[in-house]
């Protein structure tokens, strides 16, 4: 059993607070993605879990056992975890097979060498690295190195697996392949996995749950659908999928945003100030003036052809611009006046 719990974890470097009271509970065998912009503290969170750094306050509890708190920290070598580093950190003076066997030798000190060899052989087969076992890391391609790092981390059968942007050095095709590979291996072995990335697509396609982070804080935790469909804050709505945000004041069940009065169909507005989010592809455009609820008129400022879609930037008056992504058959010249409708059920009021 290896549930991983972060309880009010706090870490600061001088005046800079990098982890600002993180509370998170990860279930056994769950794959959780830490997602956030560069510098928001993802790596720091991972290194706190691994025990490379000690929290200033709060505790890290794994499998019911407190491994880190402000007073003391169990060193990483005694946590039975495994990690894939952003740089892969393959040891250049050891062959592929030696790299993989290293952790096993340390952990299975009393086991016969034959067992180590058998396990190494098995993981080499799973990751399709048999042909490369005698090579040095310097003689491998980026994707092969990545697989070695994966094999090295998995062969020790860790209770917890930590991954720090493991795919950021790969090209697009290989990245997609490895994404599914990581998920497949996770489903096969069922260790608790914490996966750090700043790529939302990577998080969406691999995670059971996504933890969106911003400036050392957790913004929202939820399933990929949750964070996309039901963002709780402006930051999450913008960061996951991109969106239009209209700032305004709540006035009798509608939001007044400059010249526009918007009714929302989901979410909950805070009293007073609010933000309304509407995704670009939900914005409906027409050449005729729009009518009914949430109907406005605007001017086309820019048009970009995206291949399968068209991307319009609209001037709504009062310094408000909207982005709209439409099917190919909506053809509007720059400068044209257009009818704009924001369907109420797709307008989401954000509490923050």
């Amino acid at each position: 059993m290896a549930t991983v719990e972060l309880q009010g974890v706090r870490k600061a470097y001088g005046a800079l607070t990098v982890a600002d009271g993180i509370d998170l509970s990860i279930g056994h065998g769950e794959l959780v993605c830490l997602l956030g912009p560069s510098g928001c503290g993802k790596t720091t969170a991972l290194r706190l879990i691994a025990g490379f750094i000690a929290p200033d306050a709060g505790a890290i509890v794994v499998g019911g056992r407190t491994l880190s708190d402000a007073r003391a920290t169990l060193p990483p070598e005694r946590r039975n975890m495994s990690m894939i580093f952003q740089s892969y950190a393959l040891w250049p003076h050891m062959t592929v097979a030696e790299n993989i066997a290293y952790g096993l030798r340390l952990r299975l000190r009393r086991q016969p060498a034959a067992e180590v060899a058998a396990k190494v052989a098995r993981i080499l087969a799973v990751t399709q690295l048999e042909a490369l076992r005698a090579r040095y890391p310097g003689e491998l391609s980026g994707g092969q190195q990545q697989r070695v790092a994966l094999a090295r981390a998995l062969v020790v059968e860790p209770e917890t697996l930590l991954l720090d942007e493991p795919l950021s050095n790969l090209d697009t095709n290989l990245r997609e392949e490895m994404r599914f590979e990581i998920r497949r291996l996770h489903d096969a072995f069922r260790y608790t996995t914490v996966y750090v990335t700043h790529d939302q697509l990577e998080a969406m396609t691999t995670a059971d749950r996504i933890v969106v982070m911003n400036t050392g804080r957790i913004e929202q935790v939820g399933s990929p659908e949750d964070v996309y469909l039901r963002p709780q804050s402006e930051f999450v709505a913008r960061f996951i999928g991109g969106t239009n945000i209209l700032h305004g004041t709540v006035d009798g069940g509608v939001a007044r945003c400059g010249p526009m009065t918007v009714a929302w169909g989901q979410g909950a507005a805070a009293a007073g100030q609010t933000a309304i989010s509407v995704r670009p592809h939900e914005v409906e455009l027409s050449t005729d003036p729009a009518e009914g609820e949430n109907a406005f008129s605007g001017t086309v400022m820019r048009h970009t052809y995206l291949g399968a879609q068209r991307d319009y930037l609209l001037d709504m008056g009062g310094d408000i611009t909207l982005r709209a992504v439409t099917p190919l058959d909506t053809v509007l010249p720059v400068g044209a006046a257009v009818g704009v409708r924001l369907p109420r059920r797709h307008c989401r009021a954000l509490p923050r």
């Binding site: 490379f52 169990l74 946590r79 990690m83 952003q86 892969y88 950190a89 290293y102 340390l106 190195q145």
Partner: protein, 570 residues
């Protein structure tokens, strides 16, 4: 909730940190502190400015200062003048045998300056100098006429320049090789001709390197003891370093010596600051990376004349001196011409079997070299590790401390150490310990720079990866970091060892008859005029040096780049 099996964060690294910080402080602060104190006191221990007054007024001190300045400026200017064309030819043109020319420059780099000076005595002493004998024979001059006299200010400056020009050469050659060809191409495309491009683009890019290298050459000349001691003293003039040394002869005037050493320290600090500023601004050269290797200029018809020029330059620091040493080592009498009938094992035999000083000096040099190299390497590793891994609060000050001795010239350090360790509570004078302290201090910056560069290229995650799989910090160090640093460790150790073998400026003040080392023995033998024996010893010294350099360069370089990506280096 169970309590974690804990280790407290303040562990042995903190203790180690404290000890090393203290040690480094003592190494630098103690001698400089005493130096400062002695310079403002008199024999009775009273505070006084008389030492400085004497320094500013006494002609016996003023003249050496003037001479030193003239020599330093002249030799630095000469070094730059020679190094610039040489570096350009080697780095940017297709002149033949570039590798061999570079090897010769390296040879002059590691030749102990005092040995070069002795070799030039053999070559250009007014009467017996080989070159003067040739000149008499060639031009039919009289028996006591001569063309060259090495025992002059010009001679000293020339001889120093021979062994300081590699500083300019190395910096400049690196800078030239770092200019990508497209930077110059860009100027050509915009209509700049070859001459315009050289003047407007290339020159501004390399000027800081030239100036910085020249400043180092200047500093070396300013603080060198061996060359002026060998070439200036016989004809009765002093430089500041030899003057300081003479103040230690009976009756010792240590307070005046301390005051005289301070200007050297001050100028060094100033010049180093200037050099740092110059090289700091140089960083724009690197911007944009090495897009394309520099273009080699085809010399065509000029290839061989250019090679002849290189050879002509390299005659002075290496080819002629080595040949002269070799000849002096194998002929019976110094004046004998080289022929079968004059060959003799006399000097070799004398050095190896008859001369009592040899064995002691060799043993001492070996012991000092091994101990100093080991200590410097170990301390540099620990300091570099603590600093690069930010293991302890205040780690930033360790590299500063380790680099501080770079600003202390050998002779200044010698004076300071002499003052500290000739009196209680540390009476180390007369033992090898004082020399170990001197060498460790003086060589620490060079050793630390090596280690720091290597550790920077070694990703922390390599070690962390081993920790997460169950290795303790020590296991990770031993199994991962140590093997990856092996080449660096050996190179650092060798550099320090070579440095110890060639040191004379501090050593000369700190040795006694029981703690002679080879460099001092050579110096002593020179005073006795036994040039044959010196040649044998000098050549042995060079042989050991070259053997070490060759061995280090042959080390298998592991086929990787830190970080796990990239192709084998070779």
């Amino acid at each position: 909730m169970s309590n974690p099996a804990t280790i407290r964060r303040p562990d042995i690294s903190l203790l180690l940190f404290g000890l090393i910080a203290l040690g480094l402080c003592v190494l630098v602060v103690l001698p400089l502190g005493w130096l400062g104190w002695f310079s403002v006191t008199n024999d009775q221990g009273g505070l006084t400015l008389a030492n400085f007054r004497q320094l500013a007024t006494d002609p016996a001190l003023l003249k050496p200062m003037r001479v030193t300045l003239v020599i330093a400026v002249a030799s630095a200017a000469g070094a730059a003048l020679v190094a610039i064309p040489l570096a350009w030819l080697v780095a940017r043109t297709d002149v033949p045998f570039r590798g061999a020319i570079r090897a010769l420059v390296t040879a002059s780099f590691v030749t102990p300056p005092f040995l070069g000076a002795i070799a030039w005595e053999l070559l250009a002493a007014p009467n017996s100098g080989i070159l003067n004998q040739w000149a008499r024979w060639l031009f039919g001059m009289g028996e006591y006429d001569y063309l060259f006299d090495i025992y002059t200010v010009t001679g000293v400056a020339f001889c120093i320049g021979c062994y300081t020009f590699p500083y300019v050469f190395t910096l400049l050659a690196n800078a030239l090789e770092n200019i990508p060809a497209d930077i110059e191409d860009a100027s050509n495309i915009l209509g700049g001709g070859a001459w315009q491009t050289a003047r407007r683009i290339t020159l501004p890019l390399i000027l800081p390197a030239i100036l910085a290298g020249t400043l180092v050459a200047f500093l070396q000349a300013l603080t060198l003891f061996g060359t002026p001691a060998i070439l200036a003293l016989p004809s009765g003039f002093h430089t500041l370093t030899t003057k300081i040394w003479s103040l230690f002869q009976y009756p010792p005037q240590t307070h005046l010596a301390a005051a005289a050493a301070l200007p050297l320290l001050g100028v060094t600090l100033l010049v180093l600051q200037l050099q740092r500023w110059l090289l700091g601004r140089r960083s724009y050269v690197v911007v944009g990376g090495k897009n394309s290797p520099p273009r080699l200029i085809r010399l065509k018809l000029w290839r061989w004349p250019a090679f002849a020029l290189c050879l002509l330059i390299m005659l002075n620091p290496v080819i002629l001196p080595y040949a002269a040493l070799l000849k002096a080592a194998v002929v019976r009498n110094l004046a004998d011409p080289l022929a079968w009938s004059t060959l003799s094992w006399k000097h070799l035999h004398f050095v190896l079997w008859e001369f009592s000083g040899t064995r002691l000096a060799m043993t001492n040099t070996l012991v000092l070299g091994v101990v100093s190299a080991t200590v410097v390497t170990a301390v540099a590793l620990v300091v570099g590790y603590l600093a690069s891994r930010r293991l302890v609060p205040g780690h930033q000050m360790l590299p500063v401390l380790a680099m501080a001795p770079i600003a202390v010239p050998g002779i200044v350090m010698g004076v300071g150490l002499f003052l500290v360790y000739t009196r209680p509570p540390f009476v180390l004078y007369g033992t090898l310990w004082i020399l170990i302290v001197a060498f460790v201090t003086l060589e620490m910056p060079a050793g630390f720079q090596q280690v720091q560069a290597a550790l920077r290229g070694l990703h922390v995650e390599l070690e962390e990866a081993s920790r997460i799989f169950g290795a303790t910090r020590l296991q990770a160090l031993w199994q991962i970091t140590a093997p990856l640093l092996r080449t660096t460790i050996i190179a650092t150790w060798s550099i320090v060892f070579i440095g110890v073998m060639r040191e004379l400026s501090a050593t000369i003040l700190l040795t006694t008859s029981e703690t002679k080392v080879i460099s001092v023995v050579i110096y002593d033998l020179n005073e006795g005029g036994d040039l044959g024996a010196i040649s044998v010893m000098g050549l042995a010294l060079l042989l050991v040096t070259f053997a070490i350099i060759l061995a280090v360069n042959r080390l298998p370089i592991l086929g990787y780049r830190a970080g796990g990506r990239g192709r084998p280096a070779i």
